[in-house]
């Protein structure tokens, strides 16, 4: 789980213009804290699908699964099993 989380943090740091020192909690909203927008979310979906070779069902594209590090990590863990 921790490995998945770090991988997502690295992706966000490299692709979302986050300052190096930005800190955010596992349950902080990525959209409300200004880290990512709707286009960024679509790019993130693509990245996750490719990186973990998973297909993300459309009904899983929800804030619960995609708006926080914890949500994303849980979702990948569930789908990659």
């Amino acid at each position: 789980m921790e490995q998945i989380k770090n991988c997502i943090i690295d992706y966000l740091k490299a692709n979302s213009f986050m300052d190096k020192d930005t800190k955010f909690g596992d349950n902080d909203s990525l959209t409300q804290s200004g880290i990512i927008d709707s286009i960024g979310l679509l790019e993130l979906v693509d990245y996750i699908s490719e990186k973990y070779s998973i297909e993300i069902p459309e009904d899983m594209l929800t804030p619960e699964n995609f708006d926080s590090l914890q949500g994303i990590t849980n979702m990948i863990f569930k789908l990659a099993k």
Binding site: S16, F17, G34, I35, D37, L42, E58, L61, P63
Partner: protein, 345 residues
């Protein structure tokens, strides 16, 4: 530390969030850049080809097309209809209160040439001006992700267009929405929109509007909730074919001029259709210290569609003072209201 400029593109270390590796001399975007291979591009084009050929729209149109009347959207419409003459296209031009008369004429002409229906989306000017004014006066209201892709004003405008085109596609039961984004502007050539995602992106935009002090209770900018509820099982995709085609500004202009498109009469190095763009760039530079087209231009340079010299020329070109003044007058804002003045960029 003195400013470092990426050796490959046009981004530099003075832009917040941009890091230049001192060993390689590259920004972190160039370091991790993996271009779409020509084979991948062909695969995407084949997919689009298949989608169009198998499209069995239940409504009057197969495509809702975002037509600004500028060169890219005019060219993409022309090429699209040339390759797929059987597609029924509704071209939507958004009158944001700042489109040039020349852009309106060009859009109508392109529809005539290609045999597409033309629809002008209008919203009351005062409401639009008030919203653009609030976007100009806002600071850090948009995620960094959005801020680097476009100015705050352009982000508002393009998101209204996206919201209203999705709304139109649902109403018309059209399966595709097409935008003429270049490789530097669009992340993916094909985006499948699920109902959940449409609802979510609508809510995100609603919150962004609230953040700048706009309450869109009449859903003038947002997709109407009632319409989303009626989407049913209809599949909807956004397509960006231009980012898969070979792009050359010269070729695009040559083709367009041959078919009667007329060169714009506005002097803006980044837009051939919008008279608000210079002000929007000026405002962004004043607030954040970098050009809103820097990232887009860097993308074109990185992918080889523009030379580095052309890229620097584009983002360093002086903005039109006349356009800035005209737009700020319309918005009842004075350029010197801003914290510092920029005469050249």
């Amino acid at each position: 530390m003195s400013k470092l400029v990426c050796k490959k593109c046009v981004l530099d270390s003075d832009i917040p969030g941009i890091e230049i590796n001192t060993e390689t001399g590259l920004c972190h975007f160039c370091e991790t850049y993996t271009p779409l291979l020509s084979q991948e591009k062909s695969e995407y084009l084949s997919k689009i080809d298949e989608l169009f050929k198998n499209c069995s729209g239940k409504g009057n149109y197969s495509i809702i097309y975002a037509l600004s009347g500028g060169k890219d959207s005019s060219y993409t419409l022309y090429k699209l209809k040339k390759e797929y003459p059987f597609l029924n296209v509704l071209a939507v031009q958004f009158d944001n209160g700042f489109i040039s008369e020349n852009a309106i004429q060009n859009a109508k002409k392109m529809c005539k040439v290609t045999g597409c229906d033309y629809f002008q989306l209008t919203i009351e000017k005062d409401i639009l001006y008030d919203t653009f004014r609030k976007a100009a006066e806002s600071h850090d209201a948009f995620p960094n992700f959005a801020k680097y892709r476009a100015s705050d004003i352009c982000n508002i405008c393009i998101t209204i267009i996206k919201q209203k085109l999705i709304e139109q596609a649902i109403i018309q039961k059209a399966p595709f929405i097409v935008f003429a984004f270049t490789a530097g502007q669009s992340p993916n050539p094909i985006i499948n929109l699920s109902l959940n995602f449409i609802k979510w992106s609508r809510n995100l935009f609603e919150k962004q509007l609230q953040k700048i002090g706009v309450d869109d209770k009449d859903e003038l900018f947002l997709i109407k909730s009632e319409i989303i509820e009626n989407m049913g099982e209809n599949a909807l995709s956004i397509l960006h074919p231009l980012c898969l085609w070979e792009y050359s500004e010269d070729k695009v202009l040559r083709t367009l001029l041959e078919i009667g498109w007329e060169l714009p009469d506005i002097k803006d190095s980044n837009s051939t259709n919008c008279t608000l763009n210079s002000f929007a760039c000026y405002n962004h530079l004043e607030k954040y210290g970098f050009h809103p087209y820097a990232f887009d231009t860097a993308g074109l340079v990185r992918s080889g569609e523009m030379s580095r010299e052309e890229g620097f020329e584009k983002i360093n070109k002086e903005l039109s003072k006349q356009l800035i003044e005209e737009a700020s007058n319309k918005l009842k804002l004075k350029p010197n209201n801003f914290k510092k003045s920029v005469t050249t960029i």
